[in-house]
């Protein structure tokens, strides 16, 4: 692509990859946590809710540092994962994906939780009287009805992951081709004299991707809403 230099293209591709995996892999957990928060009441409910929302209000640098303390190579969880499963987060693109997923998680959970709370539990009761077990009720009634919310949550999370900066740079640094995502690349170009053009091009790309994501989410939500007949 002529419009972008190789370094810039690399940053865009990396960001897309990081955000894609961050969104995809956190989606099941996001649905599960949203279900638990929306449908159950237990002593640790408030704690879980706070924990999920923490990255939203904590300084991203603090989140990044906490990630480093937990998932670094010498850290308890990071050490265990690398020793037993060969999964390394520190200073890898996987770490960038983890940081992005954690930072985007509250947004995803909020959107899905709203959708779950809008589902009429009476429909689920009706399904159970028709012989569907709880798991089948979820798969055939609840999940289809919350699909617009799940899509909205996923797109929000993807957009947030594309823009994640503070936690990423703290946790996995700014390594070209490995952890230099779009925002860190923009930041880096701005530090280099004469690279404002490259920075501006990446900003334009960011705007385009964000708008495309929102348009896509709107379009698919409308399609699903038309099918299930809700506004």
């Amino acid at each position: 692509m002529d419009f972008l230099g190789p370094q810039e293209w690399q940053a865009v591709a990396l960001s897309l990859k990081v955000s894609f995996w961050a969104t995809l892999l956190s989606l099941p957990a996001g649905i599960a946590v949203a279900l638990v928060l929306a449908r159950t009441r237990f002593p640790g409910h408030f704690l879980l809710n706070t924990l999920v929302h923490l990255p939203l209000v904590l300084p991203p640098v603090a989140t990044g540092y906490l990630l480093l303390l937990t998932f670094g190579r010498q850290a308890p969880v990071g050490g265990f994962l690398s020793e037993w499963f060969g999964i390394v987060f520190a200073f890898r693109w996987t770490g960038a994906a983890l940081a992005a997923a954690i930072m985007a998680f509250p947004l995803m959970v909020r959107a899905i939780r709203l959708a779950i709370e809008a589902v009429d539990p009476k429909l689920e009761e009706a399904a159970s009287t028709l012989g569907a077990s709880r798991l089948r009720v979820f798969a055939t009634v609840t999940l289809p009805l919350i699909t617009p919310g799940v899509i909205a949550g996923a797109v929000l999370a993807f957009a947030k992951a594309m823009g994640e900066f503070g936690a990423t740079i703290t946790f996995v640094s700014n390594i070209p081709g490995q952890t230099r995502t779009l925002p860190t690349a923009i930041y880096t170009f701005l530090q280099v004299p004469g690279a404002e053009g490259a920075a501006l091009r990446l900003v334009a790309i960011s705007v385009a991707i964000a708008m495309a994501a929102l348009l896509f989410s709107e379009w698919i939500s409308r399609r699903v809403a038309a099918r299930i007949g809700s506004p």
Binding site: A127, T129, L130, L145
Partner: protein, 373 residues
């Protein structure tokens, strides 16, 4: 087929303590709103876990809190038609109908899809979305969906309450067919006297969470004790009979156990079974067979019970063949005729006082093997 229910459950401001048996046919749970009808059927269906109780269908225990048995709702095989339909908005009508069928393959004989669709007259709706259906169509689809899950018991919780009169009249014949053709016991929750009079084989009257009365519809409706529960203006008996003849002058003759009745023209072949509801205030009493009177129906009856109320009225229960009639007359008339239990007299009924809306067809299959006999 019989269903046996005994439940106790306490809420903060309300306690349910009810037991009843539901034999073949329609068992109507009748009571005001707040009398515990929905709580009761929800516990039967497994949507609510009662503090204490037992539910059995044909000897199989679905719930027994003493033995710690509580089958989850999806294993009970109880079809439930809710007041608000509760069709799945993200599926077509056909997919809604097939929903229960998917999980019923291994349980009993699956109902024929086409037969149910035909019986409910919903073939033209199959590809539609439930969102686009009228209230009456939605309820018919909901009934079909419940039927197709091969239930061994059907529960309907005020299925007509949210519909206007015209829609109700559209659905009631389907409910009669369901009762008469499928043989699935039906627990029908309602606070409408006319629906209960039309459909019920057995009536259970609920009052403040307790069973105030339980018995065959004919007996409950003709019992003066329970007239206040139905509302004194609505009091009246139900008789089952058969069409014997259509007269040329537009009258239809119906044989009941105590004689024959001439009623305004009815549809139906001679031999067809009908149920007639006779309002208590339309029945006159005479000690001797009246002569030169315009009323066409005079039946010999025996007084079996008198119930004096606070006002000027008296409810008189009458034996008429094997059936019971209810008459509402004034205290003054009762004294003038010296009516007492065992008195022989004649019940007089004007043909035109029985509205066509108070006579309902019953399919033969049901009434011949039926329960009211």
């Amino acid at each position: 087929m019989s269903v046996s229910v005994s439940l106790r459950h306490s809420f903060a401001d309300f306690a349910l303590d009810a037991a009843f048996e539901a034999p073949r046919g329609v068992t109507a749970l009748f009571g005001r709103s707040g009398s515990g009808k929905t709580t009761l059927v929800n516990a039967v269906a497994g949507l609510l876990k009662p503090d204490e109780g037992r539910v059995e269908i044909d000897g199989e225990t679905l719930l027994d809190t003493n033995k710690n048995v509580a089958l989850p709702a999806h294993k009970r095989r109880i079809g439930y038609v809710f007041q608000d339909g509760r069709l799945f908005p993200h599926m077509s009508v056909a997919a809604n109908l097939r929903y229960g069928q998917r999980y019923s393959d291994k349980r009993g004989k699956p109902q024929e899809f086409d037969a149910v669709v035909g019986m409910l007259g919903i073939g033209h709706l199959l590809q539609r979305s439930p969102v686009s259906l009228s209230g009456g169509e939605k309820q018919r689809v909901a009934i079909g969906r419940a039927l197709l899950s091969s239930p061994r018991l059907l529960i309907m919780d005020e299925p007509l309450a949210s519909l206007d009169e015209e829609r109700k009249q559209e659905i009631l014949p389907y409910l009669e067919r369901l009762r008469d053709e499928t043989g699935i016991p039906l627990i029908y929750v309602s606070h409408s006297v006319s629906e209960v009079a039309r459909l019920a084989t057995t009536v259970v009257i609920l009052r403040q969470g307790r069973v105030a009365a339980c018995g065959p519809a004919g007996e409950i409706f003709a019992d003066p004790q329970f007239a206040p529960a139905f509302g004194i203006r609505e009091a009246g008996s139900v008789l089952d009979g058969k069409i014997t003849r259509h007269h040329e002058d537009g009258l239809t003759e119906i044989a009941v156990s105590g004689g024959s009745l001439l009623l305004p023209e009815l549809a139906g072949e001679p031999g067809a079974s009908v149920r007639v509801r006779i309002s208590a205030h339309e029945v006159m009493l005479a000690l001797k067979p009246p002569q030169d009177i315009s009323a066409l129906n005079v039946l010999p009856v025996t007084v079996t019970q008198l119930k004096y109320g606070d006002g000027p009225g008296v409810l008189v229960q009458l034996q008429c063949g094997t059936d019971r009639l209810l008459a509402r007359i004034t205290r003054r008339s009762a004294q003038a005729l010296a009516l007492a239990e065992g008195a022989q007299c004649h019940a007089i009924l004007k043909s035109v006082s029985v509205a066509q809306e108070s006579v309902w067809r019953q399919s033969r299959a049901f009434s011949e093997s039926g329960f009211s006999g």
